[in-house]
Amino acid sequence: MTDKPTTRSPAPTRGTADATPPALTLEGVGKHYGGVVAARDLQLTVAPGELVTVIGPSGCGKSTLLRLIAGLERPDAGTIRIAGETVAGSGRFQQPERRRVGMVFQDYALFPHLTVAQNVAFGLNRAARAERRVRVDEALELVRMAHLSGRYPHELSGGQQQRAALARALAPAPKVVLLDEPFSSLDESLRAQLRADTVAALRETRTTGVLVTHDQTEALSVGDRVVVMRGGAIEQADVPEKVFEQPASRFVASFMGDADFLPAHVDRALLTCEIGIVSTVPGWADSDVDVEVVLRPHEVALRADPSSASRVAAVEYHGAFVLHTVQLPSGRRLRSWQHNGVRYPVGTAVAVGVAPGIVPSLLVGDEAITRPPGRNGGQPLDSREDGLPAPAPALAEDTFHRAR
């Protein structure tokens, strides 16, 4: 998963940010309903053409974020700018119809009394008739719905409705398109195709997009950047690789894919835990601290070893992969993905290790750390460049073998 194919377009260049303003900026945006905080000090900048996915558990405020951007909610604090123009904040509030923000709703919200073409034309009422027709055709062509332009929404399948909603949102060439779980009401089989088509349409029109989802895979595979939210606040906003491989907190680690946590210790740059030495941590030469190590199932290697005290506790067959749950001598459990061919029966004694080349994240408390605590304290995430833990190839490969 670390070397997943990068079909995405390269992340937009930040150098041009001076020339064209960011498509979207949130600064210190807050919103609460009574005592419930739905958004807390949100900071986010989205470059033109970027596609950002927003993910978090139910009630984390991700829908509120979209509604704040669209103007369907009025923020209590902070500033929202769209393409450089302040739409909310400092006493100003622009109504949604003036924001040039497109929105695709979970239920698509097509107008049932209008045909597909009329739906798409709805947002183009200020354009001249001829231009309107051209743009409707373009938008429908983009989502491959031109042949269905005369149909009414109830005559369309779920996937077709979703395409029509997307075309309708894109037709007025909005500054930002907001997608609120646009695929969640579709069948599993349809979803992947529509997801790919939607992303392609956004790329083709170079539309800036913010997509809310509750599907981790979707968030990681679609977004140029992933914003993980919890309790109305942004926990981490970064490129998918970093969010997955270097989670900023225990929450992000466990929410974005499976993760197990083991108490560990760093002593003179060596990270050790119950399963042995995991890696070296350069820059931690002077430290002697207790941490927790984050281990994802695909990072955990198994090898049959009768002398080991660890036992396979459960085996789940998932098709291409087999999930093994191993009980360590301490009673803690660790999960490990193995390829289809490897299946250790329950009760097998196995040696547990970390796959070579893996640099696991470390936690102190609930926060990830990149530098020894005590000296500079926990660091903000962006300063990971130095002090990165490095893999300890020799040690790892000597001690453990990947079970193949």
């Binding site: 309903y33 669209a70 009025r74």
Partner: protein, 564 residues
């Protein structure tokens, strides 16, 4: 997938809570203005009347009227409860000949205005009627018969026209709410009767209370029917005081008393309903299994149902038809009377104007509610209370409001003010009708609006449509069925309406209902027959709508399916 489900649910809840983006002051203000317009007459009555009450006490005879009103409301309440509740139980718990037809035919008396049934009733049972004549010829002129023009007589007529409210709500409760629990009670060993008393009745109580409240409100608001029967309720008092002496102070004081009665009814309903909010949709169970009656029991059941239907609808309609036919035959029919067309035109004119106004306001309220945020939502609730205010109060309130407006205009230098009060005015009638009928119009429109998902509104906004365009291009087309229902309902209600137009009509302005009332007061029954039939025919339309609902409930109860 459960995660997705929870998320979807959470999302939906969020959408429902937040319907109004940002809250647009202009739209909130519009709804507040409509609410103020609706509330003005009632507030005017309260301010004037309460002041008068504090200063000089009640007008003469108010105490007696209040007692009469209480008695009448109690009698009608009891009558409708026995007839409506009993019939609901009968058709639900038993099977007997004609039951299938009676189930929905029993709603028909709802189309018979009490002031029409009242005079037909009098024509048959009063001193000059055929029944007493026959009795006298059989037993001599000194034979004792109970006084027909009396409180019990009025209560009987009102009960016969109003029982369908209780019948419908009770039947609904028996079918929908009580189904599952009735079965549960039976499986716990309760007999049919015990299950009825201990489970079904308590569960039907909120519905019965709601039905009774409707009945009592209608009783309170009536001041035409009761006048046939020489029953002086407080509403009659308002009418007589105003028409007799044009005494604003006394009329508004009595109106406050009427209003107090209305508040008492609503409070009583709230209390009867208690904290019990039986939202349980026990639709899973098969409900009360009807017992098949045989022999004399079956025919008694049929007889009870048929006689109520005959008394409340079939016989009076037949009588009216006979009179009308006789009139046509000997050429004295009201049809040839040129006034007929005039009054019909008046009725329709006022009704159509009111309906258009109500529908337009209802759409604006429903739309403004979506645009106007919390204030808009609150004001939208306020606009619907006119239906709970008795006609007499609205009438006097409208007169008071116009009087104050005139005063203000005169003071501002407009000689004569609007001149509306002096002449009386059709505008006043339309205004009062609008206050009274906005609630049903809004309910119909709102039912349609409720089916428009908030995201539809929001997506129209994010596509750059202004609120006005959202209303015209999205909300109105999608709510058109509700608007149509609102128009029909208001037209029918307005054609039927009598008390308000009696109170407010300008000199020389007569509607079909007023004409019927006048003719009936003068015992010109045959001439009143044709316009009465017309009114009944018009009033049958919404009852047909109810039929559909009853039949749906019926199929629901037999198939155990919910078709929505």
């Amino acid at each position: 997938m459960t995660e997705a489900g929870i998320l979807a649910e959470a999302g939906r809840r969020e959408h429902r809570r937040i319907t109004a983006p940002g809250g647009r002051p202009a739209w909130a203000l519009l709804v507040v203005a409509i609410a103020a317009l609706v509330a003005t007459p009632v507030l005017a009555v309260l301010v004037d009347g309460a002041g008068g009450l504090a200063a000089g006490g009640l007008p003469r005879g108010a105490g007696e009227m209040a007692v009469t009103t209480v008695l009448l409301m109690l009698l009608v309440g009891l009558g409708t409860l026995v007839i409506g509740g009993g019939l609901a139980w009968l058709v639900t718990a038993y099977r007997f000949p004609l039951r299938g037809a009676l189930v929905w035919l029993l709603v028909l008396p709802l189309a018979m205005p009490a002031y029409i049934l009242g005079f037909v009733f009098l024509s048959i049972f009063d001193v000059t009627g055929p029944l007493q004549s026959a009795l006298r010829s059989a037993f001599g002129p000194e034979v004792w018969v109970p006084e027909v023009r009396s409180l019990p007589g009025a209560a009987l007529v009102l009960s016969l026209t109003l029982y369908p409210y209780v019948y419908l709500l009770a039947r609904n409760a028996l079918l929908e709410h009580a189904a599952g629990t009735y079965e549960a009670a039976r499986t716990l060993g309760a007999s049919r009767m015990r299950a009825l008393w201990r489970v079904v009745l308590p569960m039907a109580r909120p519905s019965l209370a709601a039905g009774l409240a409707l009945v009592m409100m209608e009783t309170l608001t009536d001041f035409a029917t009761v006048q046939y029967f020489n029953v002086k309720t407080v509403s009659v008092g308002v009418y007589l005081v105003w028409k007799g002496s044009f005494d604003f102070a006394a009329a508004s004081q009595l109106s406050v008393v009427v209003l107090l009665f209305a508040v008492a009814v609503l409070a009583g309903e709230r209390r009867l309903r208690g904290r019990a909010r039986f939202h349980q949709q026990g639709g899973r169970g098969r409900g009360i299994q009807p017992r098949i009656l045989t022999g004399w029991q079956a025919w008694t059941a049929t007889g009870v149902g048929v006689s109520v239907l005959l008394a409340g609808f079939a016989l009076p309609v037949t009588q009216l038809a006979l009179w009308a036919a006789r009139g046509l035959h000997d050429g004295s029919a009201s049809l040839v009377d040129p006034r007929f067309v005039d009054y019909l035109t008046n009725s329709l004119f006022v009704a159509v104007i009111t309906a258009l106004l109500c529908a337009a306001l209802a759409v604006m309220i429903a739309h403004g509610w979506r645009m106007g945020g919390r204030i808009g939502a609150f004001a939208a609730q306020l606009t619907t209370f006119g239906y709970a205010v008795p006609g007499a109060v609205i009438g006097i309130g409208v007169l008071l409001s116009f009087a104050h407006l005139d005063e203000a205009l005169v003071r501002a230098g407009v000689p004569g003010g609007t001149g509306l009060l002096v002449t009386g005015s059709v505008a006043g009638v339309v205004y009062a009708y609008t206050v009274r009928f906005l609630a049903p119009a809004y309910q119909a429109v709102d039912a349609s609006f409720a089916k428009i998902s908030p995201s539809t509104t929001l997506s129209a906004l994010t596509l750059g449509a202004s609120p006005v365009r959202v209303m015209g291009r999205v909300h109105l087309p999608l709510a058109r069925s509700g608007v149509a229902v609102a128009l029909v309902l208001v037209v029918i209600d307005a054609v039927k309406e009598l008390p308000i137009v009696l109170l407010l009509r300008p000199f020389g302005f007569t509607t079909l209902s007023v004409w019927v009332y006048d003719l009936a007061r003068e015992n010109f029954w045959e001439q009143a027959a044709l316009p009465s039939l017309l009114i009944v025919t018009v009033a049958v339309a919404p009852v047909l709508l109810l039929f559909r609902q009853v039949r749906r409930a019926e199929s629901h109860s037999t198939d155990g399916k919910v078709d929505r």
